[in-house]
């Protein structure tokens, strides 16, 4: 009983010939999602899918970075064109000694951040590496400076990578 119904289903299913594969693969599929696009400035770069370059117009010239840079590279380039330094590579400013009641707040986009403490005033000791965690108060064992993480990253699923 079951076998007969199975056979019937198989015979009514349409069969695709091998010869049609060529046609299927040669079809030009425009499956680029609508949200992909080109960004000419930082304001246009609203999502990772928008970080593409306009492409080189002149086939006889070697392209410039603006024309073909993509991804994080493009984001950095667009920011630099507007004078914004995208990645914060400056050392942290320490203008006071943190106390347990009034710790130095360190901004972070991640729930964990490592900092190096050279004491107060700056450079009075060798670097001590401290692991700051969200919600915890950390203290440098040599100079006594207190630090606390100021989480400014995305809420919710923070550890998405």
């Amino acid at each position: 009983m079951l076998a007969r119904t199975a056979l019937r289903t198989a015979s009514t299913r349409p069969v695709r010939l091998f010869s049609t594969s060529r046609l299927v693969f040669s079809e030009k599929k425009n499956d680029t999602p609508a949200e992909f696009g080109v960004s000419h400035s930082l304001s246009e770069a609203t999502s990772p899918n928008k970080l593409f370059g306009p492409g080189t117009k002149d086939p006889k010239a070697q392209p410039s970075s603006f024309e073909i840079a993509t991804g994080l590279d493009r984001l950095e380039l667009l920011a630099k064109m507007e004078g914004i330094e995208l990645f914060d590579t400056q050392p942290l400013v320490q203008d006071r000694k943190g106390t347990p009641d009034d710790p130095v707040l360190i901004d972070s986009l991640d729930p964990i951040r490592y900092i190096g403490c050279t004491g107060f005033p700056k450079g009075s000791q060798e670097v001590n590496w401290i692991r700051l965690e969200r919600g915890k108060l950390s203290r440098d064992w040599e100079s006594g400076c207190c630090y606390m993480l100021n989480y400014i990253g995305p809420e919710g699923n923070a550890s998405h990578h």
Binding site: S47, P63, I68
Partner: protein, 271 residues
């Protein structure tokens, strides 16, 4: 500041490239191991299977190309090479060139150790008894001129790239590749018609170590130039950012200078 944070929030807050797991280092290691085993066995007369060596070398080149393909994809098509990453790559390559410099330093030390006070076994003279060194003003001088010219064409290509001049840049790079290839051909010619071999006393050893390994580096350098030509042709190198091209140029100029030292020491002074 907030706007910047919101932007970097969406992507990655650090400018560095955290590489995804890749099989190429492991494959390269296995390939190198096989290559070294093969070479060692050949040098100790355990095997004379040139086909195995050829397969090994082809595999190594293939793995290198596949790895380079991945890096090219990450750089050009994924945009993961920010300026910090480029700086890191440049710095890393300079460190590698420092290790190569150390290697040449060691080799020159070995040469001068053997040549300044020659031992009694070779007759206390340099070149040793019965070694007839080739004439410096013959083919080696031509080789020197070719390398110097290739340095000039390389710089020409680089400046043409920075000026967005596509045809001139490709032409300069092609000339450099051609000169590098001719250098290798001439060296092969010299080695073929040389009256002494690697096994002929310490002179043969130090001479062929210096010139031979320099030649191997020129071969690798020419391969890198071919890779750069492919990238240039496919519009992957831009007028502002071309880290791979920069590193290849560094290697080429380094080899040029090293050859000048090798030429003066081995061909002029050592006669």
């Amino acid at each position: 500041m907030m706007q910047k944070n919101m932007k970097t929030n969406l992507y990655q807050s650090n400018p560095f490239h955290l590489v995804k797991p890749s099989p190429w280092p492991m494959y390269l290691v296995f390939g190198l191991f096989g290559f070294l085993l093969n070479l060692t066995m050949m040098m100790h007369n355990i095997t004379d299977n040139y086909m195995m060596l050829l397969i090994n070398v082809i595999t190594l080149i293939y793995i290198g190309l596949l790895w380079s393909r991945d890096i090219m994809g990450e750089a050009t098509y994924l945009g993961e090479h920010t300026s910090k990453v480029s700086e890191g790559l440049n710095m890393g390559f300079l460190l590698f060139l420092m290790t190569e410099l150390m290697w040449f330093f060691g080799m020159f030390w070995a040469y001068f150790y053997s040549a300044l006070t020659p031992s009694v076994e070779i007759g206390e003279i340099w070149p040793p008894m019965s070694i007839m060194p080739m004439q410096a003003t013959d083919l080696p001088l031509f080789n020197t001129l070719m390398l110097l010219m290739s340095g000039a064409t390389m710089t020409y290509s680089h400046h043409a790239l920075m000026a967005r001049n596509r045809f001139n840049s490709m032409f300069g790079l092609f000339l450099t590749m051609l000169l590098g290839f001719l250098f290798i051909i001439c060296q092969y010619f010299e080695y073929y018609y040389c009256s002494y071999t690697l096994a002929d006393s310490v002179y043969g050893s130090v001479f062929f170590m210096l010139t031979g390994l320099h030649g191997m580096h020129v071969m690798t350098g020419t391969l890198l130039l071919c890779l750069n030509f492919y990238r240039l042709y496919n519009y992957q190198l831009t007028s502002e950012k071309h880290t791979g091209f920069n590193t290849s140029i560094l290697l080429w100029h380094f080899l040029d200078v090293a050859w000048l030292f090798v030429y003066i020491v081995c061909y002029y002074w050592g006669v």
